[in-house]
Symmetry: C2
Subunit: 380 residues, 2 copies
């Protein structure tokens, strides 16, 4: 394992499976459970890096597929990685591109060798192999890299799920080999559990990857259109199969409720475009639920988004001003909304972690749902 990566499990909840830990990387520490804002193209949309930090972000995510196509490794190499390019000095995690081949690229063709695809920008043709996915992420200077995985549509028949899951495992072996032999392991590499919505396949995938001894483990292929209950069920079956002393990352999830529930099932890391994307659509998170700033009822509302919130936006601006900016399509609207939403997500994981450390996570989870006027369903 890369000497610059370490995970210490600091606390375990007694009435749930929630955990609190500390990840150490070359670019600093990460307190888990953690939410990671998405900075697809070397920018967390609408924010400066100072604002991302002020919101409490400890690590952000970059997208390998996007950065490979634009600006490309040749440019990033001049900066020695994404960190200096965008002036971000805290940890960076990158995905492998697997999800974007599935959701965004055109005319994708997957073989045992890898994925042939056409750029969604200019139609140019490219080949991603497991080896190349790791090499590109190494060039990006990612602190936490992901194995190339094969994503699966939802719903999918079992034979297709078996094929994608087994191919992901074989690709994980090749990724690991490249990481060990070609990169000097300066950064960490996570294996990604697949298996569709089949608990037995999920367990097999989790065990096979665990045997390869990765620095950490991701669970991919969730939040792809399945009902929330099914997502939680898959996580419930998969998380206990992963090594206790390694971080567990649920990719692309989710709502505040999803995060609160998945932590209870033993997850440590999350990323999602929801706080940033929703901000740009006017949907703002509060501890009692979401509000839509576009709503006419806010036109003369002199209150901040959330009176309890301490973010820059809530300290300075009224809903009336934010609604005006949003209605007027002023660029500042997207920024102020994003600051609030990211701050809220970071405050959420901070409060989650505190509750786990103080061994009152079940109580925290009940109170979380009560404040939203929602039923707190039993888990697991």
């Amino acid at each position: 394992m890369g000497y610059m990566f370490e995970f210490n499990l600091l606390a375990e909840s007694e009435d749930t499976r929630a955990r609190a830990g500390l990840i150490k990387t070359a670019h600093g520490n990460i307190e888990t459970p953690i939410f990671m804002p998405v900075g697809t193209l070397a920018s967390v949309k609408a924010l400066s890096v100072e604002e991302v930090k002020d919101c409490g972000a400890q690590i952000i995510l970059g997208n390998t597929y996007h950065l490979y196509l634009r600006p490309g490794c040749e440019v990033i190499d001049l900066f020695g990685g994404v960190h200096d390019f965008m002036r971000w000095d805290r940890p960076l995690l990158t995905d492998s591109g697997g999800y974007q081949f599935f959701s965004l690229a055109q005319l994708t063709k997957t073989t045992e060798e890898g994925v042939k695809f056409q750029s969604h920008i200019d139609g140019s043709r490219h080949l991603f192999t497991p080896e190349k996915a790791v090499e590109i992420q190494d060039c990006l200077g990612s602190d936490i890299m992901m194995c190339l995985d094969r994503c699966l549509e939802y719903p999918a028949e079992k034979p297709a799920a078996i094929e994608s899951s087994e191919m992901s495992t074989r690709w994980a072996e090749r990724c690991r080999k490249t990481w060990v032999e070609k990169t000097g392991q300066r950064n960490a590499l996570f294996g990604i559990v697949q298996g569709g919505m089949y608990p037995d396949l999920r367990k097999i995938s989790a065990r096979q990857l665990s045997d390869m001894d990765f620095p950490g483990y991701s669970i991919g292929g969730l939040s792809v259109g399945e009902p929330k209950e099914l997502m939680l069920e898959m996580a419930d079956h998969t998380l206990p199969e992963l090594p206790k002393h390694k971080p567990r990352y649920i990719m692309g999830v989710g709502t505040p409720e999803d995060i609160v529930d998945l932590v209870a099932l033993g997850a440590d890391m999350f990323d999602c475009v929801m706080p940033t994307r929703n901000a740009r659509n006017g949907t703002l998170f509060t501890w009692s639920g979401t509000i839509n700033i576009n709503n006419a009822k806010h036109v003369k509302d002199l209150a901040p988004i959330d009176p309890e919130c301490t973010c820059y936006t809530c300290r300075n601006y009224t809903r009336a001003y934010l609604r005006h900016l949003y209605k007027s399509k002023e660029l500042l609207a997207y920024r102020l909304n994003t600051i609030h939403n990211i701050h809220h997500y970071m405050e959420l994981t901070t409060e989650i972690r505190k509750a786990v450390m103080e061994n009152r996570y079940d109580e925290f989870r009940r109170a979380f749902y009560a404040r939203r006027g929602k039923t707190c369903e039993p888990l697991g």
Copy 2:
């Protein structure tokens, strides 16, 4: 005159007509010559108020027509003015709406009474009179208000120019009356010189307004499509007709070259969307001219926009990163570009003022053109 408005002439250039002064308002001082960034809808597009201040802005401009339609006076009134609404605590200048009726509103009908128009947003019908224009600006809490004027297309025949100029003068009387009788004169009101491209009409307009003794004077109807030489010729004929001990504001102008030349002719204040709008189009100002950040030659350019610039963008980011953001349509691109352009315009007027104070304005102007590789034409 409103007791919270004062203009002190501090220096006059000996080899040009350039002047340096100090305006005092209830929200702070303004050092002239000054450039005023445009914040049409209670936001300088893409910037926070802290960034606007960090760029050196001493006063910003709001648009009465836009703010009247959205969010409307009823909302602004809840905040006691635009200052608290947008959290801007330095001086604010508002235009009267005259230019927007001319350029933006639909089905405009102008009579002696005022302007009937339909909103460009929802087609709703409105009437602006000179009295109402002042009352709305008073509600906006503007430190420097403008008289309602009648704008003129370019080119225009002399009879039309006479009509618009004379009507503007009669409206200025009505505005002044409203300001004196209805507003308590808590803020200043400027008269606006019109007269098309006819020097004799410009002189008459300037003299008539001067006789009304306004706290300051604007020159409107320039930069409406005429050649630059004609714009300078009109300013050259108009500026000397205005009272020496009052500030002189050229509305809607212009390029750095325009500002440098108009200061030489005796102008004190400027506003223009050019630095903000061009930033969003990728055109960035430097002391040696403009660059287009979209240009492929910047793809691996590790230099800042301007190596001499001390703005946040130039201190932190390369052209390569800025080009990547711009190509990727990242919202941060518009912000970083705007910070640079506004900072450049503010630095320009700071350097201009310093040169006037040190009585070397002609030399400054020659050096300014030399750095751009342009000929410095004689003026006046």
